[in-house]
């Protein structure tokens, strides 16, 4: 049975909406109206397109990962190289779009939250490009583990505000950004970095990220003669890089779509960020969606080796896609993600972001079941420079505790061959 809310703007089935303090209601209405109007104007579209091409570096290549493919048994794996974009991740697609929108609304100050720091760097970059002042909120824990990006934001002229509350990660950074926005809403635009938050953010951010899927489609046609993959895989924190890729294939029934959440270190609440394993419907940061929470409605803490996936709620459109069964959602553990990081480095000479490494790890699990004619697209949403310290730290801890395991000395691709062909699945 369809509820009244299904037809309402800003909703994805029963998910979405605008659950915010009254102070933000009229500004969100204005933002939605402006976005709907401006995004249709040819002038705005052209300016965005030009900047994405000449400044950010679009289109990004769709790269046939030959050695990775043969290592995994011959399935044809393509990497959508969002990691090659200026600033190093897909986040710049949305940041430039929203910064242009802020300019259009006459707001000279933009603010952002950031987890892994990629959205913060992208927003700081867009602000510098357009001459806007920029403040970025970041959890203390994330500032520690993504220090390189903190320095980058500051060098770009942004003020980075450390958030010490709660779990000191992305969730708390969003809280603080929302408090800033409630206070300064008349002069400030909040550049939310994912398909989260109150309407119009989930659809606006999706629209700015659609370019990933649109390009992939064109490139597949040219490179494989077929404009759809058999399998498309992307990691899902809030879910912007995945929705960007998936949106081009939602109507293509032959494409299997898999979103990968952070499986962290265990199944218990607090040990992962897999919203479809243990989450239930709730309201966080202005939207109704799947939320990890306790039975009293207090938001759970989460864990992931990757700061960008370390968040207790998922974008509302993903909640609907899950409910409809159109997209499958799985989880990959910290250990699997780090191993996939090494695999891509060893086979292709690419250091992926730990977030994107989750997608690679998931694709690896499927590769052995697919014939060599099948096409797999992995969204390589970001590059791993920011994660070098985290990976070294992770490996040091691991080799400390598992010194005896011969596995550690083996070439990572060899390890994967054993995992894939070892008959344990």
């Amino acid at each position: 049975m369809r509820k009244k809310s299904d037809q309402r703007a800003g909703y994805f089935g029963p998910y979405g909406g605008r659950f915010v303090p009254e102070t933000l209601m009229a500004p969100l209405g204005e933002l939605a109206r402006t976005y709907d109007q401006v995004s249709r104007q040819r002038k705005f579209q052209r300016r965005l397109k030009d900047l994405l091409r000449d400044y950010a570096g679009r289109p990004t290549p769709l790269y046939f990962a030959d050695r990775l493919s043969s290592t995994l048994g011959g399935v044809r794996i393509f990497l959508k190289r969002e990691d090659l974009l200026h600033t190093g991740a897909h986040k710049i697609n949305n940041a430039i779009g929203q910064a242009l929108l802020a300019e259009h609304m006459g707001k000279g100050r933009i603010i952002a939250e950031t987890g892994a720091g990629q959205h913060g760097v992208a927003t700081a970059t867009a602000a510098a490009l357009l001459g806007q002042s920029c403040t970025v909120y970041m959890g203390e824990e994330d500032m520690r583990r993504q220090r390189l990006n903190v320095d980058r934001m500051r060098l770009l002229g942004a003020e980075v505000v450390q958030v010490d509350a709660g779990s000191r990660t992305l969730k708390d950074a969003i809280n603080e950004a929302l408090r800033d926005w409630v206070t300064n809403v008349r002069t400030t635009h909040y550049v939310l970095g994912s398909v989260l938050g109150p309407d119009p953010y989930p659809r606006m951010v999706r629209d700015f990220q659609r370019v990933i899927g649109q390009e992939t489609r064109r490139q597949l046609r040219k490179q494989t003669g077929q404009d759809w993959p058999h399998l498309a895989v992307a990691c899902v924190g809030g879910g912007s890089n995945s929705i960007g890729l998936f949106s081009a294939f939602l109507e293509e029934p032959r494409t299997r779509l898999i979103g990968v959440e952070a499986g962290g270190i265990g199944e218990e609440l607090g040990e992962h960020a897999a919203r479809f394993r243990g989450g239930r419907t709730g309201v966080l940061h202005g939207t109704r969606t799947m939320v990890l929470q306790d039975r009293h409605g207090q938001i759970a803490t989460t864990h992931s080796v990757s700061a960008g996936l370390d968040y207790p709620a998922i974008g509302p459109e993903h909640a609907l896609l899950h409910e409809q069964g159109r997209v499958e959602y799985t989880a990959v553990t910290d250990a699997e993600a780090v191993e996939a990081f090494h695999l891509l480095a060893a086979t292709e000479g690419i250091l992926p972001a730990l977030e994107s490494a989750h997608a690679i790890a998931e694709a690896v699990k499927h590769a052995c079941h697919l014939s060599s004619k099948k096409v797999v697209v992995i969204n390589l949403s970001g590059r791993g420079d920011k994660d070098v310290e985290s990976v070294l730290e992770y490996d040091a801890n691991k080799s400390g505790s598992k010194r005896d395991e011969a596995k550690a000395s083996r070439h990572p691709a060899e390890t994967w061959k054993n995992v894939v062909w070892g008959g344990d699945r």
Binding site: P21, K171, V182, V283, G286, H296, G297, I299
Partner: protein, 270 residues
């Protein structure tokens, strides 16, 4: 007429604004919290606002955030707070309003919350991140059936259309947020506040209470001249924070309520 409505009409007759203190329920623990709510009543509260602590309070400043952390760490839950209210109801007849975020209400079921709140002696519920637009009639209807007032907020950014919408959805009173911003204490109230409040009062029939950032007797007096109710939160939460552990905290708090509410009792309005 609801208990809340009766308070405002009584205050209107007395030609003064109602004094509405706020404390976070369960801060620093449920047992002390019960004593503190009683102290608010003893100090002269006309209506008491009880905050339901939430892990991610985006509308609250640092003082109330810390209170929520203390309360949650001490094990406060919505059922626990309702039980506490039910317990002190025997001794306190001051109307009580729950001030909550939506997710804790959603987690317990909206109908259950409305019914349990009513049984516990709660007179109204104000949900800071549930604008009337998103209600779908559900929660409001449950509250109405249970005899609990639904209080919605207005803000300086509210358009005339939203003023109409919020007024139509509310019962008991309407809560006007004094500034764009979060809860907390501030030195000076905005210069436009009095004008804004007068303007909105002309447009709505329900009593209008003003809160967020009101923290001194002078500010209470200034707002009390134009509003039907004055809410003081963070300034009192700070008293709890700075004096927790002291055995005379209830007396201190009652004295602070008396001091803050005094201008309302003195200065009678036209």
């Amino acid at each position: 007429m609801s208990a809340i409505g009766a308070v405002f009409s009584h205050c209107r007759e007395a030609k003064r604004a109602a004094f509405i203190p706020y404390l976070t329920g369960g801060d620093p623990d449920l047992e002390t919290s019960a004593e503190l709510l009683e102290a608010l009543a003893a100090g002269g509260a006309d209506i008491i606002e009880v905050g339901v602590p939430f892990s991610d309070p985006i509308a609250d400043g640092p003082i109330n955030q810390r209170a929520a952390v203390r309360a949650l760490e001490a094990g406060a839950t919505l059922p626990g707070i309702l039980e506490m209210i039910a317990r002190i109801r025997a001794r306190v007849d001051t109307p009580m309003v729950l001030f909550s975020y939506f997710n804790p209400l959603l987690a317990h079921g909206l109908q259950t919350v409305a019914e349990q709140a009513a049984i516990s002696g709660v007179d109204g519920i104000l949900c800071v991140d549930l604008p009337p637009d998103e209600d779908d009639g559900g929660f409001r209807d449950f509250c109405r059936s249970a005899g609990v007032d639904s209080i919605y907020l207005l803000a300086p950014t509210s358009t005339p259309e939203r003023v109409k919408l919020v007024a139509a959805a509310s019962s008991g009173f309407v809560y006007y947020v004094s500034r764009t911003g979060v809860t907390g204490v501030q030195k000076d109230l905005s210069r436009e506040l009095q004008r804004e409040v007068k303007k909105i009062r002309r447009r709505i029939d329900l009593p209008l209470a003003v809160g967020f950032g009101i923290s001194s007797p002078e500010q209470v007096a200034a707002v009390g001249k134009v509003a039907d109710g004055v809410v003081v939160g963070s300034a009192l939460v700070r008293v709890v924070e700075e004096n927790r552990g002291r055995s005379d905290l209830p007396e201190l708090l009652a004295a602070e309520v008396e001091r803050l509410a005094a201008p309302l009792l003195r200065s009678r309005r036209r």
